[in-house]
Amino acid sequence: MTESEMRRRIDTAFEFLGRVADHPDRFPDQAVLFLMDPSEIASALTKERLRILRELEARAYPSLTALAQSLGRDVSRLRKDVMALERLGLVAFSRSGNRLLARPTATGIYIPLFTGKGRGTRRIATRPARTRAAHRDGSSTP
């Protein structure tokens, strides 16, 4: 990633915080945000990793081996995925004897319509405007 792209992401992060400061009631109290390209997000949150999160949310597994068996996956590959989720703050670990227990820290994933390109970026529809009267009687404006 270039330095200018990183600066843009820092600006976007602070823009988000500015929005929270302006309208705190519209934002959750705690959240994990990803200010990354769609491709980076897709590589971080793969289909298999999303399956893991869903499975961990549904049931408490006594070990990663049990989780791997339930998902029909190789344990070492699953472990790599769970570690990646832990780095992203989406999974937390605890130990029970020799066993590593994973639990999800998130209850859901949200993708707001916010691109970090500044406020008021929403475009006006290009369809020709119609007056209220025209709308009422069904005629179209020129």
Binding site: M1, P28, V32, M36, D37, T107
Partner: protein
């Protein structure tokens, strides 16, 4: 694209005084933001205090690199590659909170590569 994961409270609840966000700028860079609001009856909540921490993943671990914080009644910066001691930013003291946040944004956006590099050097020396 901005994607965020609600980890504690769903939307539509009554907001609390504190908000905390982990913002991943990349898989190796992260901003943690703690915000505290003053809630006076009949008035809109106002951002009163904040702590913004830039962390970098270095040698497989997340390391705090720099923090901007006014939770203790004065704005200060902590440069973690030097010391955990807070250094007051007295020149900015009288600015309103949104302007303080902007000053922190400017400092981080301008200096993050150097800050990160200094933290990497400090860890190599250890």
């Amino acid at each position: 694209m901005l994607m965020y994961v609600d980890i504690i409270c769903p939307f539509g609840h009554e907001m609390s005084k504190r908000k905390a966000y982990k913002i991943f700028l990349s898989l190796e860079d992260r901003i943690d933001a703690d915000l505290e609001f003053d809630k006076d009856p009949g008035r809109r909540p106002r951002l009163a205090r904040f702590a913004i921490t830039y962390s970098a993943r270095i040698e497989g671990r997340w390391r705090e690199v720099v923090r901007y914080d006014n939770f203790h009644g004065y704005l200060h910066r902590q440069k973690f590659w030097r010391t955990r001691e807070p250094v007051p930013l007295s020149a900015l003291e009288r600015l309103p909170t949104p302007d303080l946040l902007d000053a922190c944004r400017q400092d981080l956006a301008r200096h993050w590569p150097r800050y990160r590099s200094l933290m990497e050097s400090m860890l190599k020396e250890e």
